[in-house]
């Protein structure tokens, strides 16, 4: 039963297996899959949770569309990071609280769950599906890199939940 619940938590109907082929045909299939995911996500069928995150991501893209958006030489939002972020959002189930979404100086999209000064978890989405994360919980901290394929790695889900669990 525990396994079933855990798997359900990680599964979103919009998550399609990622195409790992390298041929032109494989690239076409991957592109069409991403377009299909984005089109489906724009429908209202999947509820406010998903729509709000996609809306926040889109606004973030518009606000960080040009280089030097911060006046300190920051890069414009990385297009591949943005695309990967749409897949990332689609893989989040409705029990995951909606994060703040922004862009870091290197152009990577960042998702941040903030519960207080010493209760925060942040994930940066890289252009090659690498998820760079850091969390601060009281005097405890964690950081590292995970890879993103179809589902959000358990390490990251556990950290997101930790922000809201009161375990600080």
């Amino acid at each position: 039963m525990n396994i079933l619940v855990r798997n359900m938590r990680k599964t979103n109907p919009l998550v399609f297996p990622q195409n790992r082929g390298v041929s032109d045909a494989a690239n076409d299939i991957q592109r069409e899959t991403e377009e299909l995911q984005q089109n489906i996500s724009r429908s209202i069928t999947f509820g406010d949770h998903l729509s709000e995150m996609m809306e926040r991501l889109f606004e973030t893209k518009q606000e960080h569309a040009i280089n030097n958006w911060d006046g300190y030489g920051a890069k414009a939002i990385d297009e591949q990071s943005y695309k990967n972020s749409t897949r990332f959002i689609l893989s989040l189930t409705p029990d995951i609280p909606i994060p703040e979404i922004g862009v870091e100086p290197d152009g990577e999209v960042v998702f941040e769950w903030y519960g207080g000064k010493r209760n925060v978890f942040s994930i940066s989405m890289g252009s090659r599906n690498e998820l760079t994360y850091a969390g601060l919980y009281g005097i405890s901290k964690t950081y590292g890199v995970e890879h993103f394929y179809e589902n959000v790695p358990d390490t990251l889900l556990d950290n997101i939940n930790r922000v809201f669990s009161g375990r600080v």
């Binding site: 958006w69 911060d70 006046g71 870091e104 960042v110 941040e112 207080g116 850091a134 901290k141």
Partner: protein
């Protein structure tokens, strides 16, 4: 006031805030981690503000930071942090004095660790709004 060449551990450093979303929270009266994320050149710009009145701190922020930005932005306030808190993470504070009182926080490690450091610096900093 003449500042020492080497930044004193008790000195206050100001990181001026020209972005709002993700940089500070008025509801929580808190500096947020992105305020301390280093730029691409890994030299995080700060000003040494010891011995200054608050009006003078804002004047520096306006003239030396906001007015030289390529895009018009407001000066919302600053994240105030002690030099000792910065050095705790093995970061260096390099005074440039160009412009006067300017310094860079350098020595940032790889991204995962500098995200973690930015979170901890934000937790240690005091939000002072203009």
């Amino acid at each position: 006031m003449v500042l020492p060449i080497v930044v004193n551990p008790n000195e206050s450093l100001a990181r001026y805030l020209s972005e709002k979303k993700g940089y500070f929270s008025t509801d929580r009266n808190a500096v947020l981690p992105r305020a301390f994320m280093p730029p691409l050149n890994l030299r995080l710009s700060v000003f040494r503000i010891d011995g200054l009145k608050l009006d003078e701190v804002w004047e520096i922020g306006q003239k030396k930071v906001i007015d030289v930005l390529p895009l018009p932005k407001p000066l919302y306030g600053m994240a105030d942090i002690k030099a000792s808190k910065v050095r705790k993470f093995e970061l260096e504070i390099e005074p440039s004095n160009t412009p006067p009182r300017h310094a860079d926080i350098c020595g940032w490690p790889e991204k995962a660790r500098h995200k973690s450091i930015a979170q901890q610096l934000a937790a240690e900093a005091t939000l002072i709004l203009k």
